[in-house]
Symmetry: C2
Subunit: 331 residues, 2 copies
């Protein structure tokens, strides 16, 4: 290979492909690259679930976000991936890169945000590593245990399954657009958008209950955007997905009306929104809905008739773009 492409030309997916090819797939890996988490078999019919996700200051911290909120978000991003698989975190580590212009109070804020998030999701952070760096970096790693069959992977969706989501979409995209494109201040954001951007929550409780119900065939979190997540499910499960409706948050709808945007675009092509996107055989849907305490909304169906993701709207079917947050290209 010549290797002259820039990272922007390669894109995040191109980079991941190089790394995965070089590291190879391991026979010890029960789940390797290409799902929300990784897992290795250990004794006693258990798998160790391993997850790492890195928050980088220059790309992952929106304007106006405090260090405490950034640290909270770094943890939430990791917990959300475990939530999508139905697994409870048992312990976490944090490796930090801290720019030298930070102050003692910044470190206190980061420590507080980490601590609050770990407490909110009931696991201890038991170790870490501290480094000087040019960029603020918070790299979290989580550990969990599960019986292998408990894990709800991306690959199990089947023709005829219902596609469903938790929550409503678009608040984060609307909030980020308000902050970045319209230069609004955090305190000017409606509460729904403010909370989505600065105080996101992982759907751990619902994820655990859904996995316990054994009603799901596949699951992913929506952190790279709803459209992106649907495409991932479609590719991993080798099926098509037909979307009929997307639940848009009131805040995103109002923002879209005011700024003459399509609210469904905010809902589909956002990101940093930590909802769950799942598939359920129709006969299991009411069980899943009960397990999720009513927080599951049907948005479409899985189909064997085509591949990819399409959306039915006003009588016509149009493809949903594979677009979302992709590092190196989206910036």
């Amino acid at each position: 290979m010549v290797g002259l492409l820039s990272l922007r030309e390669l894109g995040e997916l191109g980079i991941i492909q190089i790394v995965e090819q070089s590291l190879g797939s391991s026979s010890q890996a029960f789940v390797g690259f290409g799902d929300d988490i990784s897992a290795v078999r250990i004794q006693g019919n258990q798998v160790a679930v391993l997850k790492t996700d890195m928050l980088v200051g220059s790309t992952d911290i929106p304007p106006g976000m405090t260090k405490r909120q950034a640290a909270w978000k770094a943890v939430v991003a990791n917990v959300s991936d475990l939530a999508a698989k139905g697994v409870k975190p048992l312990a976490g580590l944090v490796a930090m890169g801290l720019p030298s212009n930070l102050k003692q109070s910044d470190v206190q804020q980061i420590a507080r945000g980490l601590s609050e998030a770990a407490r909110a999701y009931s696991f201890p952070i038991v170790g870490g590593d501290t480094n000087a760096s040019e960029d603020l970096v918070l790299s979290i790693a989580l550990f969990a245990l599960a019986p292998p069959k408990r894990l709800v992977l991306r690959s199990g969706a089947r023709d005829g399954d219902v596609v469903a989501v938790t929550g409503k979409f678009g608040s984060t995209a609307a909030g980020l657009k308000a902050l970045i494109s319209y230069e609004m201040l955090p305190e000017e954001l409606p509460r729904e958008l403010y909370n989505a951007v600065y105080r996101p929550r992982a759907r751990l409780d619902v994820g655990l209950k859904l996995a316990t119900s054994r009603a799901l065939t596949s699951s992913i979190d929506s952190s790279d955007g709803l459209a992106w997540s649907l495409h991932q499910l479609s590719e991993s499960s080798e099926v098509g997905i037909l979307i009929e409706d997307v639940p848009v948050s009131n805040g995103a709808s109002a923002f879209a009306r005011k700024h003459h945007l399509r609210d469904v675009d905010l809902a589909l092509y956002g990101g940093e929104e930590y909802e769950l996107v799942v598939t359920v055989p129709p006969r299991n849907f009411s069980r899943a809905h009960r397990a999720a305490r009513g927080s599951l909304t049907r948005i479409g169906v899985v189909t064997g008739k085509f591949r990819g993701v399409s959306m039915k709207s006003e009588g016509t079917i149009r493809p949903v773009k594979k677009k979302g947050w992709e590092h190196f290209r989206s910036q």
Copy 2:
């Protein structure tokens, strides 16, 4: 707390203290902050051993080091901590922050270095995360399993124990000094110094054999410098350490002679040298020595008569400074 101190004033230890205090100690943590690894109890009288160590381009990559070597070193730094505890890595994760000026070939080199190191220490890298960042960041996390009693912690050294090390010291310090202070080129370094800087190795085999021999009372790796590691053992075990001799590498001795330096300073106050520093009751020493295939050198004794670390040299006893590589202060 007012929090006005700069990170340089706080130092790495001050930062770690803030983070540890905020995160608190957890009842689930069998080993928390303050040792080479962390560990949590799981079922079946096992602990899950967790480790994360981050390599940062602007501080951890010496001049002339290739991306492939940097990736190798990032893995070695993590494996070395497991080696010191006597634990074999079972699986790893890698979270990467990549500056946008890197090329495809850099990513290929990084992937190759990660892959070579993982293969050298016989574990798979099963997942990861890719991000854009201003600094090159390779954050590795390792997972292992062990019976709790197998872990050789920093806290077990007792009055009368022998202090011993693997390998000889000073090559990395001499090599880095040659590159940075004397602006030598990598190819001008003697092979011993070149290998120490660009191709360090973790003492995993010896660490595993020593733990299996059950001869040790405490252990640490020397990655922050020999003097620093001895101080850590002294503090964690609440004992004093009297050093009588330090094995200096031939390369470091020759370099010291040529540049009118004290070779023992290169050996004591270096860092990024991945040897093991252990304590052994005298009755176990020959067993430990056999287990380590002769690669263990006695350098001093543990004493209850004082705290801290001192060195006997030419008839007088002088304190060994608690000095080594400390992020935020050493740069």
